[in-house]
């Protein structure tokens, strides 16, 4: 049910479900993966039923996330093509961070930062998937130097990805009225007009 019938639909049910499938997989993968990375995080394996279960489940969750992300990638790929306005926006991201976004260049459904995040995540997913295969000893047995390289790539990209997800989640929390887009699909018109004016014009036909 809509809070206000004039609210704008930003994500349909399938898009939301797809996003949350990726999100849940990511959280579980980060928790189990960190446990193998640094002893300080090893107690996180208890969430999965112990170290052995964490080791068994992690790669399957990874495959599930990769597949779910692939679907999401094709869903949102064309919406994330970079434009000159995005580059302008990115060059002035400091103003945005400072909390004064009223003079920022007009943005479509996604701003330059969101688009950068999309492509960075797509690349990270690919690297994590391939390097993860190298490390999956239950099914793959590759030359040890390949496995070693895979281990370095997998942990480095995972750490970067976790940091990126912090930024992704924080951005959604910081910009008030955003989280609801991924929870029940709608945003207010004022939200859209303020943050994504070109998209607002496109969906409402107003100026």
């Amino acid at each position: 049910m809509m809070r206000n019938p004039k609210d704008l639909t930003r994500y349909d049910a399938q898009e939301r479900a797809n996003h949350w499938l990726v999100g849940i997989c990511f959280i579980l993968l980060a928790l189990s993966g960190l446990a193998f990375f640094h002893p300080a995080f090893y107690p996180l394996t208890q969430l999965f039923g112990g170290g052995v279960w964490a080791r068994i489940l992690h790669p399957y969750l990874g495959v599930l996330m990769a597949l779910a992300f692939l679907v999401m990638f094709f869903r949102f790929k064309s919406l994330n093509a970079m434009t000159p306005a995005d580059k302008e926006w990115l060059s002035r991201v400091g103003e945005m961070m400072d909390g004064n976004d009223h003079n920022m260049p007009e943005q479509g459904k996604y701003n330059g930062g969101q688009k950068m995040m999309f492509w960075a995540m797509a690349l990270s997913m690919l690297l994590l998937f391939v390097s993860g295969i190298f490390l999956w000893r239950a099914y793959f047995s590759l030359p040890v130097d390949v496995v070693r390289l895979g281990a370095v790539v997998h942990s480095a990209i995972a750490a970067i990805m976790i940091a990126m997800i912090f930024v992704h989640v924080y951005a959604a929390l910081w910009v008030r009225g955003t989280v609801r887009a991924m929870v029940y699909g709608t945003v207010t018109r004022a939200w859209a007009k303020q943050h994504h004016r070109a998209w607002y014009r496109q969906v409402t036909g107003k100026s």
Binding site: K6, A35, F36, F37, H38, P39, A40, Y42, T45, G50, G51, V52, A54, R55, M97, D98, G99, D101, H102, L135, R137, A138, V144, D145, V147, R148, L149, A151, V152, S155, A156, A159, I162, A163, F166, V167, Y170, L173, W174, V175, R176, G177, T188, R189, A190, W191, K193, Q194
Partner: protein, 295 residues
């Protein structure tokens, strides 16, 4: 399972000191390749003492049997036929864990207490803590640990840590009929090796020497080699082994660096929120739209 719980030098995935009040003498096994006859009594003794029987395999056409180390065969004889100065040399090397002073397996292991290094130098796997990830294989410069297909735990030679703990020599050393496997303090073994090297040199093996590679901090299983300048002749014994730089990076400074970086981003976000406040939809815009609706 730890029999010597007071003399632990290092424990995998543990950042605080392990119980180490008891100091014990550094031990070593010395394998004198030049007096080995390839009888495999050591392999049999290993099976018998550890009470593990590998599946009976098939003959691959050479003496190597089993062909490789497995979760159930912790030591194997490797036979190399090499031509030196126009003569055939049959080089036989007993392969197994080298018990490095700086063990790559222990460095890579993510499971606390799955790999233990005792003060006497023995590197031991405690399978009840093993999660079966295989990182020990990734970390090992000698390609020694094997994951069991039955229970997904990693296994390798324990240097008979249970026997050594009660003052006995490892089963293989006890069984060797020619004295090619010696066991004692590391110092004693080095002295013994020095004598063997002098003897070998007097017999024309000018490059005879001790294999105790410094790249891994020395090992607690050492070889006397007739061709110490070319260890790779002995079925690929690594020349100057060390923990791979990739493993050192992965399980070295990347760990604190990445942890701090992730924490910094999380904390940075929190402080940004606290200092800059939320990015709210402006009241002005909301009023403007409400007015439009009212028309």
């Amino acid at each position: 399972m730890a029999l010597q719980s007071l003399d632990i030098a290092r424990r995998s995935a543990t950042t605080t000191p392990a119980p180490g009040v008891r100091q014990t003498t550094e031990v070593a096994k010395l394998i004198d390749v030049s007096t080995c006859i390839g009888c495999k009594a050591c392999q049999s003794a290993c099976m018998e003492w550890n009470d593990i029987r590998d599946e009976v395999g098939s003959c691959s056409g050479v003496y190597d049997n089993p062909v490789d180390l497995t979760a159930k065969s912790w030591t194997v004889m490797r036979f190399a036929e090499v031509e030196e100065k126009g003569k055939l040399e049959w080089l036989i090397r007993k392969d197994g864990c080298m018990h490095c002073a700086d063990p790559g397996c222990l460095k890579a292991c993510p499971a606390p207490g799955a790999i233990i290094q005792y003060a006497n130098g023995i590197v031991d796997f405690h399978q009840e803590n093993c999660i079966g990830c295989g990182y020990c294989i990734t970390g090992c410069p000698f390609n020694i640990p094997r994951i069991s297909e039955a229970d997904n735990k990693a296994y390798k030679c324990s240097l008979c840590s249970d026997r050594v703990a009660v003052g006995q020599a490892p089963a293989c050393a006890k069984a060797c009929p020619t004295g090619a496997i010696q066991f004692g303090s590391k110092e004693q073994m080095k002295d013994y090796a020095a004598k063997r090297v002098v003897d070998l040199k007097s017999r024309g093996y000018e490059k005879a020497g001790l294999y105790d590679p410094a790249g891994v901090g020395g090992t607690h299983v050492m070889y006397v080699l007739h061709h110490a300048d070319r260890p790779e002749l002995y079925k690929g014994l690594p020349n100057d082994p060390s923990i791979s730089p990739l493993v050192a990076l992965w399980k070295g400074f990347a760990k604190p660096l990445a942890s701090v970086a992730m924490a910094a981003v999380a904390l940075g976000s929190l402080f940004h929120y606290v200092m800059k406040g939320p990015n709210e939809v402006s009241k002005e815009l909301e009023d403007e739209l409400e007015k439009e609706d009212a028309k």
